[in-house]
């Protein structure tokens, strides 16, 4: 960041907003907690949409996307399209049927549909891996923000942020704080867009809708400074762009903590419509994020700041807050922005850790190890698992392996290569067998990590299965393996096929 030392006003904002959520949650206090990590009931389509959106918003949306667009311009729009277009797949292919199938978590669905404990175990392990990878990205965001707020280095920032986060989770858990997701979403959208409007006004662009106002800034950048952020496919070719975009789409449709959101709306029809609202609320943020990136470039260019590519990459994840600072926004507005970013990351990690812990306490421990375990014991285990996962994430985030959105993309690739094909075939082809899904998911894991594992030996792997964009070639391969193996293995039982035909597909309501 540009300056050091404690930022008193922003700090007050960050802690003020967190406190606000605790107080609002205590006032609500209609918690229906369960080990699934799905708490609270939401009525109505707009409320369901706000729940989907606030559950989705993360440091990757709030900070990461702007950082990538700042670095790569048009090429980074693959993230914007991937993370919105995935909802079309989710709605069209899975949402209604999943809701009627009635299983709350990805491992639970896979375990029941394929009647296999091995498949349940593999998908639980994959869910946990996705939680860990995605949370590392969030922790990086948290670390950057706290390091800036307190004026310390990144490692201390991430440790301090993790402690505050865990404290927050424990306090809200023991007080029984309900998650008011409408309030959460409102806070996120206001803290993201209001500073942007001020920024556009200060720079002299159309500020009422900075989502359009930044267009002139792109033109000015290219005319005055010969920086063309809009030129297509400069940093990555069309193939890589498509592969990345497609991977993020499949991942969105297969991400375990997104899937479980369909159970918080009362009926299938409302669940479907809440996706439309959710997508609209998400798009509001994604329409705005490029503006931060473009304004950031413009302010730097006008101020004569010329960063080397390495330095630019090192600070890219800060670009949202940094732009607000360089743009001379008042302290309270910068504080608001930071508070929004911190709460996006906090709630996202809380949701992820709960999903991961549920995989351990419910899918692995209760379903596979000790089916007679009491609810209290399982809750205790879930709490311990949350702490354990958080500790692992903290270790992984001390030396973050990439930019926030890039780390998140690996989690999406893993989901797109494993869970998405298992869901797609599980719902839409009654002939998919347990051997088929097990072989498919294991192939999916291999394909996701093919580049670091085999890239040195087989150069072709680097082209076909890049780490963040492996699902374009990977998911069809996984689907093909699932289909072929299913053809030659023991067919699923009559009961599950009848259930699929009658309950899941028999009725559209």
């Amino acid at each position: 960041m540009t300056d050091t030392g404690q930022k008193l006003v922003p700090m007050l904002f960050v802690f003020g907003v967190l406190l606000l959520f605790v107080i609002a949650g205590l006032l609500y206090k209609t918690r229906e907690s369960s080990e699934y990590g799905v708490s609270g009931r939401y009525t109505g389509r707009i409320g369901g949409g706000a729940a989907i959106a606030s559950n989705w918003m993360s440091a990757a949306s709030f900070l990461g996307i702007a950082g990538l667009i700042y670095l790569y311009g048009y090429s980074a729009l693959a993230y914007v399209i991937g993370w919105t277009g995935g909802y079309v797949l989710l709605l069209v292919l899975l949402a209604g049927q999943l809701r009627r199938f009635g299983k709350y978590t990805a491992p639970d669905f896979i375990g029941e549909r394929y009647e296999s404990n091995a498949a349940r175990l593999i998908s639980a392990a994959i869910s946990i891996a996705i939680t860990l990878i995605y949370s590392i990205a969030q922790f990086k965001g948290i670390g950057i923000l706290f390091a800036w707020l307190i004026g310390i280095d990144y490692s201390s920032g991430v440790i301090l942020g993790a402690c505050i986060l865990m404290g927050y989770i424990v306090i809200s858990g023991s007080l029984g704080v309900a998650r008011s997701q409408k309030l959460q979403y409102s806070v996120l959208i206001v803290t993201f867009i209001l500073p942007l409007m001020f920024l556009a006004k200060r720079l002299g662009y159309f500020w009422i809708m900075p989502q359009f106002g930044y267009g002139t800034a792109i033109a000015d950048l290219s005319r005055e400074f010969n920086i063309n952020m809009a030129s297509p496919f400069v940093h990555s070719g069309p193939f890589h762009w498509t592969a990345l975009c497609f991977t993020l789409m499949l991942g969105t449709a297969g991400l375990p903590h997104v899937l479980s959101r369909f159970y918080t709306v009362s009926n299938v029809r409302d669940a479907r419509w809440s996706v439309v609202w959710g997508l609209f609320f998400i798009a509001l943020i994604y329409w705005s994020a490029p503006a931060y990136a473009v304004f950031g470039r413009l302010i730097e260019a006008r101020g004569g700041i010329n960063l080397t590519p390495e330095a630019a990459r090192a600070m890219a994840d800060n670009v949202v807050v940094r732009t607000a600072l360089l743009g001379g926004l008042p302290q309270w507005l910068v504080g608001m922005l930071a508070a929004g970013a911190v709460s996006a990351a906090f709630f996202n990690v809380a949701g992820l850790l709960m999903t991961g812990a549920a995989s351990i306490s419910y899918d692995i421990y209760y379903r596979l190890v000790n089916p007679r375990a009491s609810e209290g014991r399982r809750m205790k285990l879930a709490k311990g698992a949350t702490l354990l996962l958080a500790a692992l994430v903290l270790l992984g985030s001390l030396k973050p392996p990439g930019l926030i959105a890039e780390i998140a993309a690996v989690a999406f690739a893993l989901a797109g290569n494993t869970i998405f094909p298992a869901f797609l075939l599980g719902i839409w082809w009654s002939g998919t067998t347990r051997m088929g899904v097990i072989c498919g998911m294991l192939t999916g894991v291999l394909v996701t990590f093919a580049q670091p594992l085999l890239g040195g030996v087989l150069p072709l792997v680097n082209t076909l299965f890049p780490l963040t964009a492996s699902a374009l070639c990977g998911a069809p391969l996984v689907l093909a393996i699932m289909i072929v193996v299913s053809r030659f293995s023991e067919p699923p039982s009559m009961e599950i096929r009848r259930f699929l035909a009658d309950e899941v597909h028999g009725n559209l309501q």
Partner: protein, 107 residues
């Protein structure tokens, strides 16, 4: 290959029954609209970019933004929302017709 009783077979590519056929038609139409517009535009852009630098796709200004940037960054997310809404309208109509037929009325 195993023999499966016809009544319990579910296959996206071989829908059976009027309702599932209608559902799959709506699904495939939505996916077609999703895929062609998203990836078709990128292909067009890539081709135009190779053969004709500075074409109308990148030069033409739309709401102040270069047209291709506007289309990808703003039109596509909007397009996804439109597809989702149309898909839901289609399924709503289909299920209304289905429950009318089943119960003889629809409330």
């Amino acid at each position: 290959m195993q023999k499966e009783p016809e009544s319990c077979r579910v296959n996206l590519l071989r829908p059976k029954g009027e309702q599932m056929k209608g559902e799959v038609t709506i699904m495939l139409a939505s996916l077609l609209g999703w895929g062609v517009v998203t990836f078709g535009f990128q292909l067009l852009l890539a081709l135009v970019n190779v053969y004709d630098k500075g074409s109308w796709l990148t030069e033409f200004n739309f709401f102040g933004l270069p047209f291709h940037f506007w289309f990808t960054a703003q039109m596509l997310p909007l397009w996804f929302i439109i597809i989702c809404a149309l898909f839901n309208l289609g399924i709503d109509r289909l299920s209304e017709r289905q429950s009318r037929r089943r119960d003889g009325f629809y409330d």
